[in-house]
């Protein structure tokens, strides 16, 4: 009996953590890219919501999850175009524009959802999963870890790819230079604005994908304000990961598990208030910050618009 209990509990924790962690991972990965390039994106919440809405609508009408994800990517990127034009190109305040994007994303998706579906919330079916042969037959954890929709594996691959791009390629070097010392990048003959624009677009696309995952795979439907602060969590994860994509994965799953552990505990018959559990990751990070006073690493030129020749 108790073995069964732990098994259901573990399965619920792992699959729930993955389910909640993947959108965070995509979004935080996006934030990492733009933070490295020196663009602070406070509008993630709005971009996620736009991605979630557009992705859901795409998947709902096309009957294809992949088109849904693509639509989500497009929606998020579209939302980040505002960021690119206003903050990167025109050099306006990134925090103000970010807040505007969040507010607009919340308002527009809620209005559109209402206009389109009213009070009915149509649902999508469950996505097909891909089991990794061998690994998925590991007892207890195998099925929950290694039998996932294809997009999850692609997401992990994207993290590895980003990590590699950061460390080994010219593009990654340019990106980091744009955040560390944009003048140097400019002097080397690479456009700071272009580098940052691409980074901000990537961020929007990834946040949109995260939102689309949330609505298509996670909930199977779109409800207004469904991100519930996950965009801000992603910012925190990205800042604490200090620009390292692999840490982003760890942070996201830690947050994901804490988001889902309440349900798992309820399955195991232990009733813990969701409020307590949802607070835990934040509490842990605050305690760590107080205890070790470790500075979260931020690019020196973060949130500072680059204007050629300005002093």
């Amino acid at each position: 009996m108790s073995e069964l209990l732990t098994r259901t509990f573990l399965t619920a924790v792992i699959s729930g953590g993955l389910l909640a962690g993947i959108p965070l991972m995509f979004t935080a990965l996006g934030e990492t890219i733009s933070e490295r390039a020196g663009v602070l994106n406070i509008g993630l919440e709005g971009m996620m919501l736009v991605g979630a809405y557009v992705g859901f609508v795409g998947a709902y009408y096309s009957d294809s999850f992949w088109l849904g994800f693509l639509a989500g990517i497009g929606g998020g990127a579209l939302a980040s175009v505002f960021m690119v034009v206003l903050c990167v190109r025109l050099g306006l305040d990134q925090i103000v524009v970010g807040i505007a994007i969040t507010l607009a994303g919340e308002g527009i998706t809620s209005v559109l959802q209402d206009a389109q579906f009213g009070k009915s919330y149509p649902r999508l079916g469950a996505p097909s999963t891909l089991a990794i042969p061998g690994l998925s037959s590991i007892p207890v954890v195998g099925k929950s870890l290694f039998e996932q929709p294809l997009i999850v594996y692609l997401g992990i691959a994207a993290v590895a790819l980003t990590s590699w791009v950061f460390r080994k390629t010219n593009a990654g070097l340019n990106l980091r230079a744009a955040g560390e010392k944009p003048e140097a990048l400019d002097a080397a003959g690479v456009s700071v604005l272009a580098t940052r624009s691409y980074a901000a677009l990537c961020t929007g696309a990834l946040a949109g994908l995260g939102g689309a995952y949330l609505s298509i795979v996670g909930a199977g439907t779109f409800t207004p304000f469904m991100t519930q602060g996950q965009g801000f969590m992603a910012i925190v994860i990205a800042m604490l990961a200090r620009g390292k994509p692999l840490w982003v994965v760890c942070g996201s799953f830690l947050f994901g598990i804490s988001l889902s552990i309440a349900t798992a505990l309820q399955l195991a018959g232990i009733n813990v208030s969701t409020d307590v559990v949802n607070m835990l990751p934040f509490l842990a990070i605050m305690v760590a910050l107080v205890a070790f006073a470790r500075r979260s690493y931020l690019a020196p030129a973060l949130a500072i618009p680059y204007v050629r020749g300005a002093r």
């Binding site: 507010l103 308002g107 209402d114 500075r295």
Partner: protein
């Protein structure tokens, strides 16, 4: 370059605007400039909102006349005034920290903790003590809760320069969680099925201003705004805050105890935000339901910037938004839209604001809500940040 930095921040150019809180006027064109930059975004956003309404198949004229009807006509303006009270206090609190270039984004947690404590302690307190004593104590409790909730981010920033955007956001999530735990736990009214606190008796809440339905919390809010404006523009504390915001190194050169000033500004900000919760609960609601989060701060931020971090100039903007949101309840309901449509309008205001800023001064680096001297200094401080690491 560092010498230049110090000089700029301390030059008379910097001090003149701090006395006014606005750029020194140089005739009609400047006044016009201020009008265009402040009112322009609002007008443009309303126009764009009208186009959006048309696109959604609604009648924009009916929508805006409903806003007028629900927000101003007859006695509706009194509801708007009451809605403005917490918004004004939050705006004042944000102005204080934003002037110091500190991002206190934890307002939701600070507000809800204050609200939970007021509504949880309120019913028993007003029963035991005299009405005014109880009300004053509740205001102080809420203010203290809000201030206490900024303490950790403040100390971390003051001592270790930990980024306050992260810490205040995290403390905000924790604060919202604790508020919910309190409401569902010790403060819960067990006689009702829905998790909520006990309801304050109507005759124990903030009394109305004679002749109106407006509770006196509105006066508290206006007084707070006036005091904040005075302190920011007429005292050395205000000047030090502004110099700190423009250029921390210059502030140190001036002999400002920077860590202490950071903590002080955080505490004042939290205090005002906590008191905003007290006015709202003691003036209008009388209780708090679990998971209630009005997120006033999110909608106030645009107006704090539109007012160019001037506490007094915030008042008309907040009044405008209070009318828009009070009347918007009726208007969105009549137009069969979710009230979240108002968020779109606020976002449009913000976007148009930034665009107009850009068109107005192409080289202002997006910081032109600052006074000219400070902007100059800030530009140097940004350079410093870039070079010194």
């Amino acid at each position: 370059m560092t010498d230049v930095t110090t000089e700029t921040a301390l030059s008379p150019e910097t001090r003149v605007p701090t006395e006014r809180g606005m750029p020194p006027r140089r005739g009609v064109t400047d006044a016009l400039d201020v009008v265009v930059r402040s009112i322009g975004p609002v007008v443009l956003a309303l126009a764009a909102g009208a186009i959006l309404l048309l696109a959604l198949g609604r009648d924009p004229i009916a929508f805006y006349s409903n806003v007028w009807k629900g927000g101003i006509q007859l006695t509706a303006w009194q509801d708007s005034a009451m809605r403005a009270a917490p918004l004004l206090l939050i705006a004042a609190g944000l102005t204080v920290v934003f002037r110091a270039n500190i991002w206190n984004l934890g307002y939701n947690g600070q507000f809800l903790l204050g609200a939970a404590l007021v509504s949880g302690l309120g019913p028993s307190l007003v029963g035991d003590t005299a009405r005014w004593t109880a009300l004053v104590v509740l205001f102080l409790v809420a203010g203290a809760a809000g201030a206490a909730w900024t303490l950790v981010p403040a100390l971390l920033k003051a001592r270790y320069e930990t980024n306050e955007i992260i810490t205040t956001l995290m403390m905000s999530f924790i604060g919202v969680g604790i508020a919910n735990i309190l409401i569902k736990g010790p403060f819960q009214d067990t006689s009702v099925n829905i998790p909520q606190t006990r309801v304050l008796p109507l005759d124990k809440m903030l009394p109305a201003i004679p002749g109106t339905r407006i509770h006196v919390g509105v006066l508290v809010a206006v007084a707070a705004v006036l005091i904040v404006h005075f302190v920011l523009t007429r005292t050395s504390f205000g000047l030090r805050l502004q110099v700190l915001g423009a250029n921390p190194r210059a502030a140190r050169h001036m002999g400002v105890k920077v860590p202490r000033l950071i903590v002080m500004s955080f505490l004042v900000s939290g205090l005002l935000i906590g008191m905003a919760a007290a006015t709202d609960i003691l003036g209008i609601w009388g209780y708090v339901r679990a998971n209630w989060n009005p997120a006033y701060g999110d909608t106030v931020i645009p107006f704090v910037f539109l007012a160019r971090l001037n506490a007094l100039a915030v008042v008309p903007f907040v009044a405008f938004y209070a009318v828009l949101s009070t009347g918007g309840d009726l208007a969105t309901q009549q137009a069969n839209l979710p009230t979240d449509f108002l968020l779109v309008l606020v976002a449009l205001i913000l976007l148009f604001m930034t665009v107009i800023e850009y068109l107005g001064r192409r080289r202002s680096l997006g910081a032109s809500y600052l006074t000219p001297g400070l902007e100059q200094a800030l530009r140097h401080s940004r350079r410093r940040r870039k070079t010194s690491r």
